[in-house]
Every structure is written in C-alpha cells, then in structure tokens.
C-alpha cells in the first residue's frame, strides 16, 4: 500500500510539473500585456521600462525557471493589473467558488440519489419514466441559458431572489461564507441550483442503473427472504452496494463543478475564482491565469488522490486485492 501511494504521489507531481510547463507555455503566447497596461501615448522608452519591470524582456526559459523557483516557495508572481501577489488574489476568491461547488454537490446528492432510487425501483411507473425524461432534459439544457431563465423568472418576474452577487457573509473558522445568513442563502440558491443541474441528472442516471442491477442480485433476494423490511433492504443492502461508483463520480465531478463554476459565476456575478479567470483572460493578466490554472490543477490531482483512498475504504475488495498483490 505504501509503495503504491508513493508511486501514485510521484506520478501526481510529474503531471503537475508537466501541466505547469504547458500552462506557462500557453499563457506566455497570449497577446502583449504591455499594450494594455501602458498608457497608449507612452514612448518607446517608457514601454521598455514597463516590459523590464514585468520581467517580459527575459528569454522564455529564464522566465519559466524564475516562475518555477517562485512556485516552490508559494510565489506565483504578481498580478499585472492589481499589483498584488496572484496567489493571494486566487485564495481570496477561492472560498466563494468552493462554497458554490459544495452547495451544488449537496443539492445533487440530496435530490439525485433518492430520485434515482425511485426510478430504479419502479422503472416502468409514470414517476420513474418522468424522472428519467427529466434527466435527459437536464443533460440537454444549456447551463448558462438555464441561469438566464432562472434570473428572468425569479428575479425579474417574481422578484423573489437577487440576480447577482454573494450577499451578506459571516466568518466561519475565519473564512467568509454566505450560507449562514438569510441574505447570503437567497443569493446562493439560484447559482447553486444552476450548477447542480447537470450533476443531478448524472446522479439520477447512475443511481437508477445501479439500483436496477442490484435488486436482481442474490443478496437482495436473500435479505428479502429473511423477512427484512423493504426500507432496510433498500436503505442498507442496495444503497451500500451502489454507493461505490457513485462516490467515485461525486469525487471526480467535484473538480468539474469547480471548473464549470466559471460559467455560473459569470452569469450570477458570483465573486469567485471563475469570474476572476474570465476577467484575467480579458485583461491578459498572465500571472493570475497561470496561478488559477495551477491551483485548479493541484485541486484536481488532490481530489483524484483522495477518491482513490475513499474507494479502497468503501470497497474491501480493493484493499484485499492490493494485499493479495503484495504477497
């Protein structure tokens, strides 16, 4: 197990360095930030001074080496636009994005698993078919357009929910969160639901497929024959067995929720990292783009790692398989 973990860790670090290089290479090719940052009336001398101040006159590999050395110290450069450390900018916005992503994931789990169970236990009922039709619709809905329709309905027509921003926040363990204030919750509701929609459809489908397979298995028949209540058979025997692939998907999808928050944050003007990324791309703020991507890549690699461990905890076969392999 230890050897496996170490090898896996080495692999992750390798991917991280390769990604850092690719990201830096790609972002380096974007336009000329000096054009945007320096007064258009500035003369050549002034432009040259600005270029030197940003370190843009150095050869590419020297810039990359400086960047890599800085990255190991947690320094990802200073934002060209705000003139503060890029990593600080990202970390300030990260709680908002993580809160949105977590809220969306919770909505997906709380609604998706029960609905999927119903659809799986009664595949031919009106309700079961309705849930499945709804999930195809959920896959087909353009997320950004749903966001607009939500704003149209709940903010413009009904006036129930605010269309943008994060609302009042309170500090929870030193991190500002919205979900503990009524105003914050009202601001969180629409973006979180919007972001959850795709995940919800995915979880419904996975739970349904798993349930349909599980109820035909011998252990379920045996549990029923033992005279266990339906609630216990489904809640314990079925659910526990279908949960393994579901947990994997929830974990892996957490990364894509964070990535997709870029779209949701832009629509609802949610002050998170996604909105920061779009703004930075438009302003050619290279250090912020690079810092964002590296933070996201690191989160992704960490998530993959954790999912592997949780997977082995949930499924004894994975652990036993590894133990057997070690002999």
């Amino acid at each position: 197990m230890l050897a496996f973990t170490i090898r896996r860790l080495g692999q992750s670090v390798f991917v991280l360095v390769v990604m850092a290089f690719l990201v830096f290479l790609g972002v380096y090719a974007i336009g000329d930030p000096v054009e945007l940052l320096v007064n258009p009336q500035a003369d050549a001398l002034e432009r040259a001074r600005a270029t030197a101040a940003l370190g843009l006159d150095r050869p590419f590999f020297e810039q990359f080496a400086t960047f890599l050395a800085g990255a190991f110290r947690g320094d990802l450069g200073r934002s060209f636009v705000y003139n503060v450390p890029a990593i600080q900018l990202i970390l300030e916005k990260l709680p908002a994005t993580l809160e949105l992503a977590m809220a969306a994931t919770v909505i997906g789990i709380v609604l998706g698993i029960p609905l999927g169970l119903i659809a799986g236990l009664r595949p031919n009922s009106v309700l079961g078919r309705g849930i499945m039709a709804g999930s195809i619709l959920g896959f087909s809905l353009p997320t950004f357009w749903v966001g607009l329709v939500l704003i149209m309905l709940f903010s413009v027509k009904l006036g129930w929910l605010p269309p943008n921003g994060r609302g009042d926040t309170v500090l929870l363990l030193g991190v500002p969160v919205s979900f503990l204030t009524a105003d914050g919750l009202a601001h969180l509701a629409m973006p979180a639901f919007n972001l959850a929609l795709f995940k919800l459809s995915l979880l419904i489908r996975m739970t349904r497929a798993g349930t349909r397979e599980a109820i035909l298995q011998d252990y379920v028949k045996f549990a029923r024959a033992k005279g266990l209540s339906s609630r216990r058979v489904i809640g314990v025997h079925v659910l526990k067995n279908i949960l393994i692939p579901i947990v994997t998907v929830i974990g892996l999808e957490l990364g894509s929720v964070i990535a997709f928050a870029v779209v949701t944050e832009s629509i609802f003007a949610w002050p998170g990292t996604g909105k920061l990324l779009i703004d930075s791309i438009n302003q050619l703020d290279r250090p912020v783009i690079v810092a964002y991507l590296l933070v996201i890549v690191t989160i992704f690699i960490a998530i993959n790692f954790v999912v592997d461990i949780v997977y082995s905890l949930l499924d004894p076969r994975v652990r036993l398989g590894q133990a057997a392999g070690a002999h």
Binding site: W145, V149, S256
Partner: protein
C-alpha cells in the same frame, strides 16, 4: 376468418426478421416513440438550418433590411411597416426568428465539423494504439488519460484564451478536447476485435496490414463509435455556445446561438427576455433531439442488451 388473417401477419413478421440489417435497425429504432420524435425534430432542425436563407423572413445580417425603429419589439408585435415579428426583435431591430435560423447554421456547422475532425484523428490514433501496442500505445493513451482528467470546458477556455477568437480557433479547441474520447473508444473495441477469428483469418490470407486494419478491424469497431460521436456532437454544440456566451468563442461576425443569447443577456434585467430566451430554446431543442436519438442508438447498438 380470424385464423386466415393471422397467418399472413405471422408470415410478414417472419419475413421482417430476415430483412436487411438496415431495415432491422430502423424497426428497432422505431420501438421508442420518443426517439422517433427526437429524430423528426432533429431532421426539422437540420433542414431549417440548411434552408435558413430561403425560409427566414429577412436576412438578419443585411443592414439595409434592418430598421432601428423596430428594435426590441416583443414577440408577435408588428413593425411600423406592418411586418409581424413572431419571436420579437433584438436591440438592432433584427428579427429573432431569422437570427435563430442563421444561428443554427453556424452552431450546427461548428459542432459537426469539429466532431468529424476529432473522430478522424481519434480513430487513427486509437487504431494505431491498439494495433502497434507497446510504447505507441502507452504514449497515446497516457496523453488521453491526462487530458480526460481535466474538464473539457477548462481546457477549451485556456486554448481559446491563447488562440483568440475565430471559427478555425474554436474548431481547434473543440477537436483538442474531443479526440481522446474517440481514441479510447476505438482502442478498447479494437483490442477486443483484434483477437477474434476473422482477423486471424485475414492474417492467414496474408492480407496487408492497412487492409486488415481498415477493412476488417475498423468496420467492427464502428458501432460504439457512432454512439460516442452522436453524444459528442451535442457536447460540441453546447460547449461552443457556452464559450461564445463567455465571449471567448466565435467573433460577432459569426452569430451562433450562444452569441445571440449572450447579446440578450444585457437586456434581461430590464424584462426584455425574448432576445436570450428563444435562441436558448432553439439550442435546447437541438441538443435534446440529438440526445434522444443517441440514447436509442446506444440501446440498439449495445450487444449486451441484444435480444
């Protein structure tokens, strides 16, 4: 009398069973009414996109036909000159219905062309990985694995930030995020097929390698690929519209559905909903119809569900 009518019916059924594979395929497809409805809708949408210049009430990008006096008319309202705009007009007095027909053209064209290119690239790389194995296989699949562990939207976003706007650029971005799905699918089915007897037979006949790969192996790897490709067309269209909405995809000179929606976004809070709403509805119907068709194709082509 009853018996007499029943016997020919049975004979018909028997005849249908030995019918050509295409017929059989069609009748299996028709088993789901929802899928048939989806296919009908898809055909209608494709025809509307192809015939856009013929069926649109106006050419939405001919400035001579636009009248600023007609801007932001609500759906069903009449213009000064007595024309009725069934889906309203945008901020420049452009008929939304015409805008949607033209937008569909661009969205579908970008979605399909990027899918076809990605399919071709993925097919060749997947077959190469399966056929040569060894380091070729390891290299191609490693790249695909790493790439697939990151969400498509993020990769496309970064690529477009680097490349800039343009039809060619968004096609490059969509191809880059899609090829790995095909490469994986082709590789996994080619590895299974490679060990089958007909491939061995072809080898014994001393047929050339390209002939075995393209004439024998490839046709048998196609069914799962068709399913993946159908789903991916929908993904590509959705991704393009999302990127265009964020202002990173197509330029304003190529108004796809995503750009139309994005254009309406700024007027949404003042209650002018139709500029965003109807292009989105057209997008939803396009993707929904493709997904309905794809779902049924998956069921028909899945050998595990074969009766």
């Amino acid at each position: 009398m009853r018996i007499a009518t029943e016997i020919p019916a049975r004979a018909d059924a028997a005849a249908a069973r030995v019918d050509s594979p295409w017929r059989q395929f069609a009748s299996e497809f028709a088993e789901s009414k929802l899928a048939v409805a989806g296919l009908a809708l898809l055909v209608a949408i494709i025809l509307a996109a192809l015939a856009a210049p013929l069926i649109s009430p106006q050419n939405p990008y001919d400035l001579a036909q636009l009248d600023v006096m007609d801007s932001k008319l609500a759906p069903g309202e009449q213009s000064m000159s007595g024309k009725t705009y069934w889906l309203g007009t945008d901020d420049q007095g452009r008929d939304m219905l015409s805008g949607i027909f033209y937008g569909l053209r661009i969205s579908l064209a970008v979605g399909t062309s990027s899918t076809v290119i990605a399919l071709a690239i993925g097919l060749v790389l997947g077959l190469a990985a399966a056929y040569f194995g060894g380091w070729v296989d390891a290299l191609i699949m490693r790249i695909a694995d790493i790439q697939l562990s990151f969400p498509a939207i993020l990769l496309a976003l970064v690529l477009l930030a680097v490349l800039g706007q343009g039809v060619d650029k968004i096609v490059i971005a969509l191809v880059t995020v899609q090829w790995a799905y095909y490469a994986r699918t082709v590789r996994s089915s080619a590895i299974v097929e490679r060990q089958k007897e007909y491939v061995e037979a072809a080898r014994v006949l001393a047929l050339s390698r390209p002939r075995i790969v393209f004439r024998h192996l490839l046709p048998n790897c196609l069914p799962p690929l068709i399913v993946v490709a159908t789903v991916q067309v929908a993904h590509a269209i959705l991704l393009e519209s999302t990127l265009s909405f964020l202002g990173l995809g197509l330029p304003i000179t190529k108004p796809s559905l995503g750009l139309l929606i994005s254009n309406g976004f700024q007027y949404l809070l003042s209650g002018t909903y139709w500029i965003s709403f109807y292009p989105g509805l057209a997008l939803l119907l396009s993707i929904l119809s493709i997904n309905l068709v794809a779902d049924q194709l998956r069921d028909i082509l899945n050998p595990r569900l074969r009766k």
